[in-house]
């Protein structure tokens, strides 16, 4: 694939993410080329833990909405820098379901959250792969301005 095309696609993908993500990218430098990757990995690990927690809480005989709400809140916070607006929106919706003690709403929110995370994860995977491809093709990874 043409390097410039790769780079264009890459930038498009990047722009679809949170603007803060580019901030994250700016933090990366040649001393720490894997910074974004590592941070994102951390994010996903943490998110996975939180989502598992939410899930297990939802499946309790007595659902403790406060606990779930807290976890969702943490997830939302974690996501601020990395994730996408869609994840954030899903978190917000989830929280309102928790406030309403709406178990059904929570379940559907949970599903949506899961979905958004998977989407996001695949986006980032693509992003990183593209980075590798660009570099392999001799180009430099474009940065958002």
């Amino acid at each position: 694939m043409d390097v410039s095309m790769l780079q264009r696609t890459y930038l498009e993908l990047l722009s679809s993410l949170f603007s803060e993500f580019t901030t994250l990218q700016k933090l990366q430098d040649k001393d720490d080329p894997k910074f974004v990757f590592r941070t994102v990995s951390l994010f996903f690990d943490n998110a996975e833990r939180l989502i598992n927690g939410i899930s297990s809480n939802l499946n309790q005989p007595t659902v403790e909405f406060n606990k779930i709400k807290e976890l969702v809140h943490q997830l939302k916070g974690s996501n601020k820098f990395i994730g996408g607006e869609r994840i954030e929106d899903a978190c917000v919706a989830f929280r309102s379901y928790c406030d309403a003690n709406d178990l059904q709403g929570c379940f559907s929110s949970m599903q949506q959250l899961n979905q958004e995370f998977l989407n996001f994860k695949s986006k980032l995977d693509t992003l990183f792969t593209m980075e590798q491809q660009i570099v392999a093709a001799g180009g430099s990874i474009p940065k958002m301005q």
Partner: protein, 530 residues
């Protein structure tokens, strides 16, 4: 900074600012660390509040500022904020996703220098050095008010408050003092790192006398530690005790304000006093000249016990009074001396405390007790130290303070949180003033060398009793007072020590005016005439 900076630091503040970041979210921790590093700061990260506190305690003076998230699993971020403010007096910046005004207000109330919203921008982090600088400037100003030399101040300003030793900015005296402190800290820390200090009557006596000697508004844990000259206690011990002490006094103040009945009763006791203790009435150095008044503890104890405990000690009192050189204790200092357990403002040196002329030599606490009774030496209508302050200049400070210190220390755990709300109200009431207190009194540990010398110099000059806004009760520190008091549990150990009992009584009931009198007297009798 001192340990790992090159001898000739060419970097200019705020490069190398030492930041401790506390956040339970590993993602954030990583991002913040990266951002701060990009600002050329030295970053230490921590995922738990308790660990952060440990780090700060162990490596005191190795951090300039703390950045902490509000929501953390093991400890509320606000609580951490208070702890840090009290024990280390470092500027703390709070972070949260939640930018709700009430939360932000809470953060500021608890002493946060700033409240950042996540996602935090790099430019916001880049500016955090301002808080460090501002705090230090404020401290300098405080010292200025206490006759620090212009040269010293100039040095501090020029240096930007960092790397004093390396830059040769410390005077020889400062360095010597710093070494002394370091030595003391080193040995103390190794010996008593985790040991609970039992604040015996004697020890407390020394503490209080040191506090009064320094002058309450200029007091700092290190200075007190130095004056007390007691091996085996650390600055941290003193710091936490000081906080409790202040809180205690504030509470007494509040209680005293509330209970006019108690005052009247004490006033009744006064007539008994004069014959036994003429000096009480006419304490030469008292700022106000009202009728003499025993401390609340004293008021409770002595009158009921026919002033007997007092009589034998009157000569000691005289001695003590005479020895005190500075006459005017800042109202705050008065406010903060434990009622009944604190040497009066007049008592300056600790020697009188240790030389026991008490007729009952087997009661080692005899002298201190006497001292305790002495304390509210002011000629005030109020019977307790705190109450005395209402007569002192700037009464508005105290009268305007809402009854904050009606803190029920009945819970064994001495939960800090219990103390907080009440105290927070007080802080609110005195809000414009309280923020400044942090820098002024406790927490000079950040700059041991400089601060030590500041205090030294400030102590040398006569205290003027000048009350500035910053003299107000340092509230964040107070917050820890009760909780650490409970932790130390010192008072429980000092059964017969009336002053301590009194204090504990204070601690245990908010109506100490009424309750404690009754059972303190027999103890007094026992102690004195055992």
């Amino acid at each position: 900074m001192e340990s790992h900076s090159a001898p000739s630091r060419t970097e200019v503040f705020p490069v190398g600012l030492r930041v401790l970041v506390v956040d339970d979210d590993p993602t954030w921790l990583k991002i913040l660390e990266k951002m701060l590093r990009k600002c050329s700061y030295e970053v230490t990260t921590c995922g738990l509040a308790r660990v952060a506190l440990e780090i700060l305690r162990e490596r005191k003076n190795k951090f300039d500022i703390v950045v902490s998230d509000v929501n953390m699993p093991d400890m509320d971020g606000f609580k951490l904020l208070e702890h840090i403010g009290l024990e280390m007096d470092l500027p703390v910046i709070m972070m949260s996703i939640d930018g709700e005004t009430s939360r932000v207000m809470k953060g500021v109330q608890h002493g946060a220098c700033d409240y950042l919203l996540k996602p935090v921008r790099m430019k916001e982090l880049r500016n955090i050095w301002q808080h460090v600088y501002r705090k230090k400037m404020h401290e300098v100003k405080e010292i200025e008010g206490h006759e620090f030399t212009c040269d010293d101040l100039q040095l501090i300003r020029e240096s930007g408050f960092e790397g004093f030793e390396e830059r040769g900015l410390l005077t020889r005296e400062d360095k010597k003092r710093k070494e002394e402190y370091s030595d003391q800290d080193g040995s103390d820390q190794s010996a008593a790192k985790k040991a609970r200090v039992v604040w015996s009557v004697d020890l407390h006596q020394k503490f209080v006398s040191a506090v009064n000697q320094i002058g309450f508004d200029k007091v700092g844990p290190k200075k007190i530690l130095d004056l007390m000259n007691v091996p085996g206690i650390t600055r941290e011990n003193v710091a936490s005790h000081l906080q409790k002490y202040r809180l205690y006094l504030s509470r007494l103040q509040k209680q005293n304000e509330d209970s006019t009945l108690g005052n009247n009763r004490r006033a009744d006791f006064n007539p008994k006093e004069p014959p036994a203790k003429p000096d009480l009435k006419t304490s030469p150095q008292v700022q106000q000249s009202t009728t003499s008044k025993p401390s609340p503890g004293f008021g409770f104890i002595a009158p009921e016990t026919e002033t007997q405990p007092i009589k034998p000690t009157s000569h000691v009192e005289e001695e003590i009074k005479v020895k005190r050189k500075t006459s005017s204790v800042p109202p705050l200092g008065m406010l903060l001396s434990f009622a009944g357990t604190v040497p009066s403002a007049e008592i300056k040196t600790s020697e009188p405390l240790t030389t026991s002329k008490h007729p009952h030599p087997n009661w080692t606490g005899g002298l201190p007790l006497v001292q305790f009774m002495q304390y509210p030496k002011h000629d005030h209508d109020r019977c307790d130290l705190l109450g005395d302050y209402s007569c002192l200049p700037k009464p508005d400070l105290y009268t305007s303070a809402p009854p904050v210190i009606s803190i029920n220390m009945q819970n064994e755990t001495g939960n800090l949180l219990d103390v907080k709300p009440a105290l927070m109200d007080c802080i609110k009431a005195i809000s414009p003033l309280t923020c400044t207190v942090d820098g002024s009194t406790l927490g000079f540990d950040g700059l041991p060398g400089i601060k030590g010398s500041f205090f030294e110099q400030s102590c040398r000059r006569a205290e003027t009793g000048l009350i500035t806004g910053s003299d107000l009760v340092p509230l964040p520190e107070d917050l820890n007072l009760y909780s650490s008091l409970q932790e130390i549990g010192c008072f429980e150990n000092v059964g017969l020590m009336n002053s301590i009992d009194l204090f504990q009584t204070e601690v245990e009931s908010s109506n100490w005016c009424d309750g404690s009198e009754l059972f303190d007297y027999p103890l007094i009798d026992e102690c004195l005439f055992a």
